[in-house]
């Protein structure tokens, strides 16, 4: 099936079998391999992208459901000149990543979290990150990064 959508600001068109998940369309048909697959039960959140401005687990959605949608992946988050988004910069500054595998999903969730909950407390941030599993960092520096990214996003809004 032909799916036409916008990915990272550009028109994209993929021809995929109808049972193709959005994550596989992104990874295998558009070579956007920054979005990762960490589980098969929609638990880990490594595949989180934005669809029409909302964080979505792209393993829990068919590619055809993205017909006409505006999809943003981790590759589209930095500025065109490569300058990182404030949330990406906060993750680096606060050491909110180690192996980097959960990171793209974690960052995409964090951006959505801060848009919708600009004044979330530490405890609320921890709760709101429940859909993303990280095995390396122990979450402490991720939470710090989200707090810092939250401030930076508020300042640049």
């Amino acid at each position: 099936m032909q799916v036409q959508f916008t990915v990272n600001g550009r028109a994209a068109s993929v021809d995929v079998p109808p049972n193709t998940l959005l994550v596989h369309a992104l990874r295998e048909h558009l070579q956007l391999t920054g979005t990762h697959v960490g589980c098969d039960t929609s638990q880990c959140g490594a595949c989180t992208v934005h669809v029409n401005g909302r964080a979505v687990k792209s393993c829990a959605m068919l590619a055809v459901q993205a017909q006409g949608a505006d999809v943003q992946t981790i590759e589209g988050l930095a500025a065109p000149d490569g300058t990182m988004h404030p949330m990406q910069a906060a993750f680096k500054e606060c050491h909110g990543l180690q192996c980097g595998f959960c990171t793209p999903g974690m960052v995409m969730s964090a951006v959505d979290l801060c848009k919708n909950h600009p004044s979330a407390s530490e405890g609320e941030i921890r709760e709101l990150l429940e859909g993303n599993i990280c095995r390396c960092t122990g979450y402490q520096n991720i939470v710090r990064a989200v707090q810092q990214g939250q401030k930076a996003m508020a300042a640049s809004a």
Partner: protein, 795 residues
């Protein structure tokens, strides 16, 4: 250069932000599944649905005829090509002098399957979907056999007909012991008090976030293989695969472990899939990719822990330890994984002296095959099992002797170094009292009673738990490891390539899968050479680029891999001084090197590092008669001892007695890692280790059905993974007694959190539940289990 000089260099002790982060944060990491080779085909494995069964026949006709299928491989094909089974890298000798039982570990089942997930067939097709569909068509006729799952059942011979291997019909792999049994028994006979404890160290599933993945590739023109694999030690992988399994010339095989999404031990090993893909890539002349589903990872990654133990401590009337006696039954799973036999022996029992001057220790270990996934090293590997046992026992000793948890530890701490334990290790240095004092202060133990009263006012129970761990890291002096049964060396390599303009590329045998070597190692080089950190790049994870190295596990990277780089830098510095001496017309002996400049002692003559490197590669004014051009040095470093990180952890839990719901309210960790190069990275390692250790104590638990051997916790829906809201903010502190025998003074920090934390948590749970009469408790402290413990104490 000595450790104290090193620790004073610029960049050492500086939280340099990570060089690797930009690619990970922008989606540009290259994990194995992100690598796409030309005309890449896909493999899917047909796995056993039974824990134990005889294979009567396998019919692959329908699968072979399915759309897109390129090949279907079964055990008979493996046998026809004389592919050997997977080797075990550590020989343990039983107390009766017999070698451990080493049954074959075939890459595809030979007549029998021995755990749910065991490899039966491999289907290769153009697309992954085609391979999956065809795998469904492989028909296997099984005779199901009785399965033994629990190690206690295996030890008791409780299941008739559940002998897994002909070579070990009673499923016993080895009985191993360490220590002086006679002296221990004598000490027990004279003890004022003996404290006893039975405990279970629950089985865990490592669950690195990147599932295992590999691509086998073969080039017919050059007769060369390339294996991309999510792995912690590509040279070890290559050596085992070529020399022991496939009989391939080592120089014709390149193993690349690109970005690796976490390992925690589970990616040390040579797995059947890696060999199958390499083998089939030549047979089909195709590039073949396999990526584990998470469900597949649950079934087939090597698991961790799974011990059942009985421990006894003999004390005098003041709570001074006289002797420790331990018996452990260890579950090895269905086959011997790469380092499985070392985990419950060398890496476990040798740590049972802990931080204490217990004069006599005797440990006996029986290990057993069961119809479960192979068990091998998982973050800490033997040392968490030792620490859990000892620190649970020590806290129980305290309670039985009427002493505070910290006091009994202080009464028994080792207080002078070097210290020879009764179980083989010699600790070079440490300050256990300082760690305890620091932890008590940071955890505000003085305010505990007040917090406990506040909890009680809410109807909640509060408990405090201690754990003082020590671990042996920086594995290992190769000759000692060899004498203990290791079938590999345990050195590390480092190559420092100085470019003509003075920037540097380092090739290390260590492998980073999250630890930040690209930054920490660059700091070491930048500090030594007086150049910016950005002028140093670290290359790792590719046998085609890096000299033979042993890889990353056992918190060894900085202490062994970093030390190898230091040795290479010594050679660089020595040669560069000769070049500088020539350029400045001085004697070698008069040249000083500091801050990136060579100077002639007693004069104002000096030249920068880059001028020397340029001269090395443009040797016009150069002592060519006595010195080779170039500035490129390689060193191999073999440590003279283990390193011994140690610390004290304090946990406070709050429990709702009505529901059993248990919350870790405070957690404090004070560690002694020796010299710290990048505090930010070290603290990140501790945080991660703590969450894995507290995860084991609070929620993680691998459960197989006791009769059928089906994995009941086979997904993230059933296996509780720690999440962000399960933890408070950790409080960390540090003590520094530099390691005395490596040039950096470092000890390693990767596993401490996972080693030290479980007993602190469970001691806290027991402290909270003690007033209700709860005496025993096994991990994990899920609400249900805590509630049950409360109810049974009431009854």
């Amino acid at each position: 250069m000595g450790a104290s000089d090193f620790s004073n260099l610029p960049h050492i002790g500086e939280s340099v932000r990570r060089k690797e982060d930009y690619r990970f944060l922008t989606g540009a990491g290259q994990y194995t599944d992100d690598v796409v080779l030309a005309a890449q085909s896909h493999a899917v494995f047909v796995r056993s649905p039974h824990a134990h069964a005889r294979i009567n026949s396998i019919n692959i006709d329908a699968a072979k005829a399915a759309p897109g299928v390129l090949g279907v491989f079964v055990g008979a094909d493996v046998a026809a090509d004389s592919i050997n089974g997977l080797p075990c890298g550590w020989l343990i000798t039983s107390t009766n002098g017999e070698p451990m039982k080493e049954p074959p570990h075939p890459i595809l089942a030979q007549g029998k399957v021995r755990y749910v997930g065991d490899h039966v067939a491999m289907v290769v097709a153009h697309t992954q979907q085609q391979a999956r569909d065809a795998a469904e068509l492989v028909e296997v006729d099984y005779d199901v056999l009785p399965a033994v799952v629990n190690v206690a059942d295996a030890a008791a011979g409780a299941v008739a007909g559940a002998g897994l291997h002909d070579i070990a019909p009673d499923n016993h792999c080895f009985k191993w012991a360490i220590g002086d049994k006679g002296a221990v028994d004598a000490a027990f006979a004279n003890a004022a008090h003996v404290t006893k404890l039975d405990l279970v160290n629950n089985r865990l599933i490592p669950n690195a976030m990147e599932p295992r993945a590999a691509i086998g590739s073969y080039n017919r023109a050059s007769d060369e293989y390339t294996l991309y694999v999510s792995n912690q030690n590509p040279h070890v992988e290559r050596l085992l695969m070529t020399a022991f399994v496939m009989g391939l010339p080592e120089h014709k095989v390149r193993v690349i472990a690109p970005d690796v999404g976490g390992g925690f031990g589970s990616k040390i090993y040579l797995y059947a899939e890696d060999v199958c893909l390499t083998w089939a890539s030549k047979k089909l002349n195709r590039n073949i990719k396999w990526v584990a589903d998470r469900s597949e990872a649950f079934l087939s990654d090597a698991h961790g822990r799974d011990h059942v133990s009985h421990a006894e401590m003999a004390m005098d009337k003041d709570g001074k330890f006289l002797a420790l006696r331990v018996h452990t039954d260890a579950n090895l799973g269905a086959y011997l994984s790469t380092f499985a036999s070392a985990v419950p022996t060398i890496l476990y029992a040798t740590l049972l002296a802990g931080q204490y001057s217990t004069p006599q220790v005797y440990v006996e270990v029986d290990s057993w095959f069961t119809n479960t996934a192979p068990v091998d090293a998982y973050r800490g590997a033997g040392r968490p099992e030792a620490t859990y046992l000892l620190e649970r026992l020590v806290t129980r000793c305290a309670w039985e002797m009427g002493l505070p948890q910290d006091e009994i530890r202080r009464r028994n701490f080792i207080n002078s170094f070097p210290y020879q334990t009764p179980v083989a290790l010699q600790y070079d240095t440490g300050d256990f009292f300082a760690c305890m004092d620091g932890a008590n202060k940071l955890a505000d133990v003085a305010g505990f009673e007040q917090r406990k009263a506040a909890s009680a006012a809410k109807g909640m129970l509060r408990g405090i738990g201690y754990s003082s761990y020590i671990e042996a890291c920086g594995i290992a002096p190769s000759n000692i490891a060899g004498a203990l049964g290791a079938r590999a060396g345990l050195f590390e390599c480092g190559e420092v390539r100085v470019h003509p303009t003075g920037s540097v590329t380092v090739f290390t045998g260590s492998h980073s899968h999250g630890q930040g070597h690209e930054t920490t190692f660059a700091q070491v080089v930048a500090a030594r050479l007086g150049i910016p950190v950005d002028n140093v790049d670290i290359v790792h994870g590719d046998t085609g680029r890096v000299p033979f190295g042993m890889g990353t596990y056992g918190s060894r990277s900085i202490s062994v891999g970093g030390a190898a780089i230091m040795k290479a830098l010594d050679k660089i510095e020595a040669k560069a001084k000769k070049i500088a001496a020539h350029l400045m017309e001085a004697s070698d002996a008069d040249i000083d090197f500091a801050g990136g400049e060579f100077s002639v002692r007693g004069t104002d003559k000096k030249i920068p590092f880059a001028q020397v490197s340029l001269a090395a590669y443009v040797p016009h004014n150069y002592p060519l008669d006595v010195l080779e051009p170039g500035l490129n040095e390689t060193a191999f470093y073999d440590p003279t001892n283990f390193t011994f990180p140690a610390g004290t952890y304090i946990c406070e839990v709050e429990i709702d007695p009505a529901t059993g719901s248990t919350r870790v309210d405070k957690f404090t960790a004070v560690d002694d890692f020796g010299t710290i190069i990048n505090p930010m990275i070290v603290e990140g390692q501790v945080h991660g280790g703590l969450v894995q250790g507290i995860g084991q104590a609070m929620m993680e638990n691998c459960v197989y059905d006791r009769e059928t051997g089906q994995l009941l916790t086979g997904s993230f829906m059933d296996y509780a993974m720690p999440r962000a809201d399960d933890f408070p903010e950790f409080k960390l502190g540090h003590v520094c007694t530099p390691c005395t025998h490596n040039p950096l003074g470092t000890k390693g920090c990767g596993e401490a959190g996972a080693i030290g934390s479980p007993p602190a948590v469970i001691n806290a749970v027991l402290d909270a539940l003690r007033p209700l009469g709860v005496k025993d408790f096994d991990m994990p402290a899920s609400p249900h289990r805590v509630w049950e413990a409360i109810q049974s104490a009431k009854a």
